[in-house]
């Protein structure tokens, strides 16, 4: 009705020419692989020197945590750890474009993003240690649990964004999806809900070229994943996912558009998973060493460092500071791995319901009695 404020469930009007929603011919790139600064019309990384150093330090930390966790996994001190080496620009550049009040919905490969957002890596890695779940402070950090099923979290992200709008809160939600997850039905349903209700969501598709072994050509015959956006009435953006400034600029633009009611955006980041999918994977069966080496030369951290040093924002001293800070976190992770962590067997009953059912109380009682009946073996006596 005339004069009424727009409904929080109403989308922004479509542009007269929907073609403006299509991604550009070239991926957004603000840094050449050698670190040279470039321009890309419509995309600006509004980071001052302090912000640039924060971005760099967060990427250094992300890589250190990732490498440390992978090494601990290979040593058998952690269980399966899905590494994201080579994806630091996408993982961190995107998250730093959020405001304090915003929410992040990561996947199992986004430990880097969760840590960049402030989640304690030890708490996140507890799931990999298999002594618990992803146990970071979900509500305080506004980092949802790292989703293991593909794409289901995209709907949670959209629902949370709709709820924030219904409550009148200017909250934006960033949700990570892989190129494989983009084929799941929930990806479609989430993007469609977000479009229909104008939900303030940024869908960040981490296109790292492979879903375990399956190449992205088997996920879509479209010109790109970002091209799908126009079908949902939202803009699609393709970004050089190894360019931290470009990722930051694209996500920041999407966040700024979403917050006042402009609706969702699909940002496709083109990057590469340097490591295997997981410990059980053998990438030599589906990709060549030459391909991996080519992508190694696009190292996102090296690219940003070259730019920052040339711009006079980063020097040896500051780089060492960032490395030292990351090393301290890595040392804390190692110390935690070395210390025993023995969860209470009875804790499996703790949080199934707000108030336990009588049947569960009875099962817990039986298990408790069973545990009490287990007599620890007497220590062997030393031979006389």
């Amino acid at each position: 009705m005339r004069g009424d404020p727009p409904s929080p469930l109403a989308p922004a009007p479509l542009p007269a020419d929907p073609a403006v929603l299509l991604p550009g011919a070239e991926p957004v790139r603000l840094l050449a692989p050698d670190g040279t600064r470039r321009e890309h019309a419509g995309f600006e990384a509004d980071l001052d020197p302090a912000g640039l150093r924060r971005l760099h330090a967060a990427m250094v930390l992300a890589r250190r945590v990732d490498t440390q966790a992978l090494h601990l996994s290979r040593q058998g001190r952690l269980g399966v750890y899905p590494a994201a080496l080579g994806q630091e620009a996408t993982e961190v550049g995107s998250v730093l474009a959020l405001d304090e009040r915003d929410w992040l919905f990561p996947t199992y490969r986004d430990t880097m993003a969760a840590v960049a957002r402030g989640a304690d890596p030890v708490d996140v890695l507890r799931a990999c240690r298999a002594t618990g779940y992803y146990e970071h402070d979900v509500v305080g950090s506004r980092v949802a649990t790292l989703a293991i099923p593909l794409a289901t979290q995209a709907l949670h992200a959209v629902g949370l964004a709709m709820a924030a709008r219904l409550r009148g809160d200017p909250v934006v939600v960033l949700v990570f999806l892989g190129d494989g997850a983009a084929s799941e039905g929930d990806t479609h349903e989430a993007m469609n809900f977000a479009g229909v209700f104008g939900a303030p969501v940024v869908f960040l598709v981490v296109n790292n070229q492979y879903a375990i072994s399956t190449p992205v050509a088997r996920q879509t015959h479209g010109p790109s994943l970002a091209h799908r956006a126009v079908g949902y009435g939202m803009p699609g953006v393709r970004v050089d996912g190894n360019d931290a400034l470009a990722v930051y600029a694209a996500v920041r633009g999407a966040v700024d558009r979403a917050r006042p009611g402009g609706g969702p955006t699909l940002v496709e980041c083109l990057t590469y998973r340097i490591e295997a999918h997981s410990a059980s994977d053998d990438p030599s069966r589906y990709r060549t060493e030459e391909e991996v080496e080519a992508w190694r030369s696009f190292d996102p951290l090296l690219r940003l460092e070259r730019y920052l040093r040339a711009a006079g924002v980063l020097d040896d001293e500051r780089a060492a500071e960032a490395a030292d800070a990351a090393e301290r976190v890595a040392a804390r992770i190692r110390a935690w791995c070395d210390a025993p962590e023995t969860p209470d067997p009875l804790s499996i009953f703790d949080h199934v319901y707000a108030s336990p059912t009588p049947a569960m109380v009875e099962q817990r009682r039986r298990f408790e009695a069973e545990l009490a009946a287990i007599v620890p073996a007497a220590p062997e006596e030393a031979p006389a």
Partner: protein, 344 residues
């Protein structure tokens, strides 16, 4: 560590001081419960397919959008996983979503969201966030509908811990159990017996019946216990009426909720009668009746005069409507089962 307090509604409702009973249907009782829940707590939102302007294909959400506005009751895209998945995110933010999945078999696209997230998020997040979601699903057959519109999916949902499974059989319970489900800090799969939508009762609203987790004895008797729920309770009562001609005095227990399951009431009844028949519309193999019969044998063995018997539908796909009468449990089949537990 930040913890969301359980965002469940703290509202309570009591019967009016001078209740005036009117004749209402089970469908109207559900509708009244939704009206009253939306009025009681502004965090409650109702959405799903066709629930807004139309008021739902069964009119259970009739008048909600007109009264509370589109922000409290709205039509969603036609996507069940999307409906339940977005409810998870809404509940994480502190809302209390009540979603409708239009028909039983159309709840299956939402299966992953229900069993992997709705039921498990509180546990996964170690109690930091609860999901007070109510998922309404009209279920059951004998309404002459096409395939996929008559199924009984309760065993699928009852098998996964972390959610409650509730199903009313009478109008008073339809109101009270739905209000309680919406108030409940845990998620509830709320199964509505669509074939009983137009059953009537004289009722003064609001009404509060026994809480979730308590069964009700619909008919007291001594010969055998017939356990039923949802659409099968009326069938069990009809069988009990018919059985009196045979000189059998049947007790009918209405479970009202499958999980939590009121074994106390069931076991006490079976120990009194020494005989037990379980009735439901779902296929017998792997059905909820198997769980109930197993628990009865385990806990009431020395009181039983005969093995507990299940009366479900046949283990074939739900047939075309012209064949459903032979597929579903009937009064005769319940009486036949009673005959088997009573003996010659």
């Amino acid at each position: 560590m930040t913890t969301l307090t359980d965002p469940a509604s703290s509202t309570s409702w009591t019967a009016p001081a001078e209740p005036v009973a009117t004749t209402i249907t089970l469908a109207q009782a559900l509708n009244a419960a939704l009206h009253d829940a939306l009025a009681a707590d502004d965090r409650v939102v109702v959405y799903g397919e066709d629930v807004g302007r139309l008021g739902g294909v069964f009119r259970i959400t009739d008048g909600l959008q007109q009264r509370f506005g589109e922000e409290r009751c709205f039509d969603s895209p036609l996507a069940e996983s999307g409906i339940v998945g977005t409810a998870v995110g809404m509940a994480m933010y502190g809302l209390i979503p009540v979603v409708e999945l239009q028909f039983d078999a159309f709840s299956y696209p939402a299966f992953e969201q229900i069993v992997s997230h709705v039921a498990k998020m509180r546990n996964r997040l170690r109690g930091r966030v609860g999901l007070p979601i109510t998922i309404r699903i009209p279920y059951g057959g004998r309404v002459g509908a096409p395939e996929h519109h008559s199924e009984s999916p309760e065993a699928y949902y009852a098998h996964t811990a972390g959610r409650k499974v509730v199903t009313p059989a009478v109008p008073a319970d339809a109101y009270s159990l739905l209000r309680e489900s919406i108030d409940c800090p845990d998620p509830v799969v709320f199964l509505e017996p669509k074939r009983r939508y137009y059953d009537q009762a004289d009722l003064a609203l609001p009404v509060r019946t026994e809480p979730i987790g308590r069964a009700a004895i619909r008919r007291a008797g001594t010969t055998a216990t017939v356990v039923a729920y949802g659409p099968s309770v009326s069938l069990a009562v009809a069988a009990a009426d018919a059985a009196s001609a045979e000189g059998w005095d049947l007790e009918v227990v209405d479970l009202r909720s499958l999980d939590p399951l009121d074994t106390e009431t069931v076991f006490a009844s079976v120990r009194r009668t020494g005989r037990c028949v379980v009735v439901h519309e779902a296929s017998t193999f792997g059905g909820f009746g198997g769980e109930l019969a197993a628990q009865v044998q385990e806990h009431c063995f020395y009181s039983l005069e005969a093995p507990a018997v299940r009366v479900g539908s046949f283990d074939v796909p739900y047939p075309p409507a012209q064949l459903e009468a032979g597929f579903l449990p009937s009064v005769d089949r319940v009486l036949d089962a009673v005959g088997r537990v009573v003996g010659p």
